[in-house]
Amino acid sequence: MSRVKFEDMINFIEEVVERPNLFGGLDLEPLETYQGMDTSLGRNIKKPMATGDYRAFRLKGSDKVDKIAYGELHYMKRAKYCSMNMTAGDDYDLPIYACEFDESAKRLSITVDLMPVVDTAVYPEYRKKYLDPLADIWRKSRTIPGLTDEDGRCLVQRRYGPWPWARASMSHFPIDGRVPDSSLRTKIFEPVIEFAKVWLGLLENAEPMPEGDYKNEVLTRKRALQKYFRELDPGGEVLKKVVGHEAERLIVSLIF
């Protein structure tokens, strides 16, 4: 892969949120606090090693959305770490939209998925309703060079290879890997945006779950998933050094 200069790296939020007007149809309002944390800590970050901006929103007048959060961190004008997360409120069983995207001079890494909040082998109706809509875009996107190598081997779900807990959180339609050719980097926008559109479409028709065993099961899995990513994500320690403990806690809670 040819080296990419910092100034030529992808402006993730501009490309996947602003340009396609991803949230155009939604009445979003900023979240001032998230789980007791002041969200202003994530705004306009200016530290010796990094600059960045993380924002979080909720749906005005509705409990359907726990958070819609996105942001970018730029490390020492050498690399970008970007992410977007959309999590439904606890009364809803929507999967969690999660996207991590990072780019340095030599590589671009991507993970995007709708992480199920139930064991999908057990619930065929969940697969059909929430995950099957990803099938076409997954089949198309998994052929992007890097996700499928030069010998035709498709290795999605390998970026998270060293972290079994992270792989166990993913759906059976993950886009997860590294794109080696800088000229092909922009192809990755399509699944990032299309997965988000699927989630937003599901949100529109979401109905609250009744109280009971199913809801308990959903919340147990959702909490386990969030705990893993918030406590074990290998980027957490680096982030703590770069932005400080409080901002790290906030950012990790927003992006997972």
Binding site: D119, T120, A121, V122, P124, R127, L131, D132, A135, R142, D151, G152, R153, C154, L155, V156, Q157, R158, G161, P164, W165, R167, A168, S169, S171, H172, F173, T220, R221, A224, L225, Y228
Partner: protein, 211 residues
Amino acid sequence: MAWTPYTDKMTEILKQLPLKEVESADGITVYESDKAEKVVVGSVTVGDELQYGMCTIIPKAEYVLPLFYSRWEERQDSITILVDIMPTVDDLVDEPYRFKYIEPMGESWDRFAKLAGICPEEDDDLRAACSIIYTGAKIPIEKDGMRLAALAPHTDYLKKYVEYMQGAEATGDQVKIKEVQRKIAAIRGIISDFVRRTQADKADQLCNLFL
């Protein structure tokens, strides 16, 4: 066409378990075992076009073991495979189970990623039942050695599964047993549906014997 000895190689490993033959017909043998409801291995051929092999081990729920599943579709120019140790609980939530049965397979999962033709299982529902360490591939057969290379993940995963089964002890935790029963039933349904979709002619026979 000299087919790869899938059934013979798998049976050699299965014989490490205490097996009692229940039924044998048309190249498929069904066994009972102390910790498994069913142990089944065999293959059917369609002329010179296809050898379709399968091996399933459906554990008794009280042993809280994963379910072993192996599929072998051998043609003249390619072999499509899937082999997995499928979790019978939600292994995101049940961390000790994942540590015990799934994560130790990570080394094999990494090693077999180097196989030619490695790719995700194509069937969406079946993939949803798979663990994080399944090996799936459509291996082009460019030389004979590749047939045995394609068999290696099956024998490797099966050896490990046999060790798991030998070490398993029954639980008295009724909640866990119910969870396992529910998931085993779900996986059986998924595999049955898959067989019915892909092997219409022999679907009833295969489902009855293997599942």
